[in-house]
Symmetry: C2
């Protein structure tokens, strides 16, 4: 089980590195985080062959807008440097073969672990989303179609469901763009409600990297860009995952 | 279905009332929002008799810490003015008999609508939580036990799952304390990770009401208050729900 007594070792501070942090934070230069390592992070993250189910693929619940946008970005993966990210059931699948930082060791067990944004497996009822990432531009696009299990106000997605998906998209972007692992802060301004069953497009940019933190921004809007649903910013802490030694 | 063309009528602005808003925002004085009406909001929100399932009741998945804290606050409902809030499957159940603001009319259909924080119905796998509210102190306490479907980093709750529950607890508090309906902004600073299966206690305070907005703060920490998981602030917009006329 989780070694809870070590948890205190990973304390996250927004404006400063807290006491104790240097022990678990290898100093990463922006160059190593933002240079050629992005390609190796991406190629590790997107295995060519895997038996794992990819939840970021079209299914019968996707509306025409969602399908059209997906096809549009899939074309861009062939010509414009975009990469479609796979989405497995658990982050444990995404970091296979990598070691968590000191203090976060978790023994495997038989629980049915799921990453929160893939918690609902019935197609179309919960989260339908797919993330495309552009390694050299350090940008991501997330196509999001909320289902009826994500409701807040009747007929509309819960603000918290958008907040969680922003956090998740920031998280994957931060990892691939510069080994950002943990959310330090998340600030959201909501503008309009997202109707359940419609599509929201999240545009994420990495703004800067400074003091082992990645600063990102996001705007979520309708496909025609006429309606802004929300704007947000996120700060992530860089932490290096190391290869597990074979045993 | 949803009248999407009216959606633009409800635009949320953080620092100012946007053009068009006055038509749908009755001016509420702080007195009427924070005065005796809180009691009527609470009594409507907590029906003495209902056939609806209350998801905020102990079940076999609750750990001893969660059960003990629940009992502790249940005692306070008898002596100290706290109210245990019921938690139904959908906000449609919570606002039964009330009309949504202009532009948000939704015809009923046969979808299985669920409020996002009750999206997972298997006991212990997703969100286990219960909210207690104190009408005169304008405070809430939320007891939160994340299950394995809420995972982010292996073994720990996804930051987005905490963000969503903060939004939801703010939302219920804002409604009961002053008819706050829509999230305007949500700002979170994460400090430590919450182990899956443990208990986090969220303390919410209404800080002030100004310009038809409620300003709230939240601190989420371990039961012994030795570990702060996150701190947040939330701003909600006041909007009055009216009685539906009988047809």
């Amino acid at each position: 089980m989780i070694r809870r007594s070590f948890l205190g070792a990973v304390r996250l501070g927004q404006h400063r590195v807290l006491p104790g942090i240097p022990q678990v934070l290898p100093r990463l230069s922006p160059t190593s985080a933002f240079g050629s390592s992005t390609d190796s992070l991406v190629s590790r993250f997107c295995p060519e062959k895997t038996d794992l189910k990819d939840y970021a693929l079209p299914n019968a619940s996707w509306c025409p807008d969602m399908l059209n946008l997906y096809q549009e970005f899939l074309e861009k993966t062939k010509t414009d440097g975009w990469v479609k990210l796979p989405s497995f059931k658990s982050n444990r699948d995404h970091i296979q073969g990598l070691k968590l930082p000191f203090g976060l060791a978790v023994a495997s067990d038989k629980s049915d672990w799921r990453i929160f944004t893939r918690c609902i497996q019935e197609e179309g009822q919960g989260y339908e989303y797919v993330i495309f990432f552009h390694p050299s531009k350090k940008k991501s696009i997330c196509l999001f179609q909320p289902g009826p299990y994500l409701e807040g106000p009747p007929g509309f997605a819960h603000g918290g469901s958008l907040a969680a998906l922003m956090d998740e998209t920031f998280s994957k972007t931060a990892y691939l763009a510069g080994e950002g692992l943990f959310t330090v802060s998340l600030n959201i301004r909501f503008k309009n409600l997202i109707p359940v069953g419609s599509v929201a497009v999240l545009n994420i940019d990495v703004e800067k990297i400074e003091d082992q933190k990645l600063y990102m921004s996001c705007i979520a809007q309708s496909r025609d860009q006429q309606t802004v649903y929300a704007k947000s910013s996120g700060v992530f802490l860089q932490l290096q995952l190391e290869e597990e030694s074979s045993q």
